[in-house]
Amino acid sequence: MASKVIQALYTDDDILMHAVKKVRAAHHHIEEVYTPFPVHGLDKAMGLADTRIAITSFMYGCLGLAVAILMMNYIMIEDWPQDIGGKPSFSYLENMPAFVPIMFELTVFFAAHLMVITFYLRSRMWPFKNAENPDVRTTDDHFLMEIGIHDNEKELTDLLWDTGAVEINVTEKES
């Protein structure tokens, strides 16, 4: 569905923050904001929900710990409990201190890598993906706020000029 959007460009993150607050106060839905760097507090101003990626990471860590324990319990204790230098391979617990470095590393490995992959999937990032910037300047020194238009182009344009926009474009957007 193609829809019309209005794109307001700003040159300062402070002005952008004020603009976001003003637009939200006027009950317009901000579809997206493009910035060249993280703007502290922008997510709060836009009213975005908190990320849950830390929770996924915790679960991946638990998974990694479980993998480490099951793997070493099978290999070292159940499958072939050899006497290697007098280490007590009678039960997992008795030989556990020797396994802790691996348990730790696998926990971190799973937590870190699976979380990064989750991040890529959720934010739709992969090699050869087409970049989505509406304007190349937003990767350098401009900030862009995008709002959908529902027969209120004039009102929105006035509001955005008011908030200190340096440039306003109305475009069709494929979505």
Binding site: F58, G86, P97, A98, V100
Partner: protein, 449 residues
Amino acid sequence: MYTFSNRLKIGSFIAMAVGLICLATGFLTAPSTVEEAKAMVAAHDDGHGGGHGEDALHNSAAADDETVGHHGTETHSEAHDASHDEHLLHQLQNRPWSALYVAAFFFFMISLGVLAFYAVQRAAQAGWSPLLFRVMEGITAYLVPGGIIVFVILVLSVLHMNHMFVWMDAEVVAEDKLLQGKAGYLDATFFLIRAAIFLGGWIFYREYSRKLSLAQDASDDNSNFVKNFRWSAAFLVFYLITESMMSWDWIMSVDPHWFSTLFGWYVFASMFVSGITVIAMITIYLKSKGHLPDVNDSHIHDLAKFMFGISIFWTYLWFSQFMLIWYANIPEEVTYFITRIEDYKLPFFGMLAMNFIFPLLVLMNSDYKRVNWFVIMAGIIILFGHYMDVFNMIMPATVGDQWYIGLPEIGGILFFGGLFVYWVFNTLTKQPLQPKRNPFIEESRQFHY
């Protein structure tokens, strides 16, 4: 200005009085002859009935095995029995002394840990913490009485009032090649001189830094602040060396046959995390009474992050020490852990749960670190865990398998806890709780995470 609430003051006096009575009872009921000691152990076993009796049986069987292992086919001679009985007597006599020493050192170590944290905050020019400097200075005030008490206990040990440090006993050293080899360092006079230097340096920095900190409030330039910064950086160098040596002297030397290189760091982690926990708890208490209006959730969150991080750091050192020794299993090192695992199973592994697993799970969530009662609850567990840590470092060497958490131990905690609370809160009443013109005070007031 903060006023010492009457209830807290009375509470601390009651704790001190009850603690003193418990400690005195502990000293009075300690046996003075071998016969009394044997009777006490027998009565103790009877009193606890089946479960404990079986345990004792098992222990003695293990001890027999060990004896056979060590002495080959040697039978229990009269002389051996007598020396064993005397050993038991010394253990039972040591118990109230060790309980006193563990509690005295534990509360002293809290204020020393806070002093290190305070110096780090000053040397790092942290922007978030100046609001808490008066709280930290209040806690480090306990360094003076706490340090003197620990020093007095060490002097009494040198005067042979107890048998906590076996290397102080000339008869033992005369028969012990290893201790003779260490006699150059483990010498009673040198030991006390070192202790005096450590305590003198720490107390000097505490008093001087407090003076500069107060002078900064009254002055119209930042020269006191800069001076304090330099002294703090210098103190940290002094502290790292002396803290390490202190841990060899005051703690590791109760096991004079054993040594570990990362022991100083391990003791440091324990005192650092207890200190930070106490800062957080006292800050939350004062804030809940409305005395620290500018302290917000973000300050508590930062302190809780430190509690979380340093708890894990402590575990890392604990495990590094344990695993290296367990792995190599060299007899002269591994006995340290064998006695602890055999006779102190619950305190030894329980402390790991309290100091690692509990804070790990409770303080991992960022939101929970802002919930004050959550931080207090985690703090209480962490403090108990680190009391057990000191307990596990001292007791196995001084009382062996005769340990018990009874009157003298609880009395020690109550007495020094009461003294600590009284001294700290009394110091907090002396000056306004918020520094006036620290260069970072505005940043700290606005601190938000």
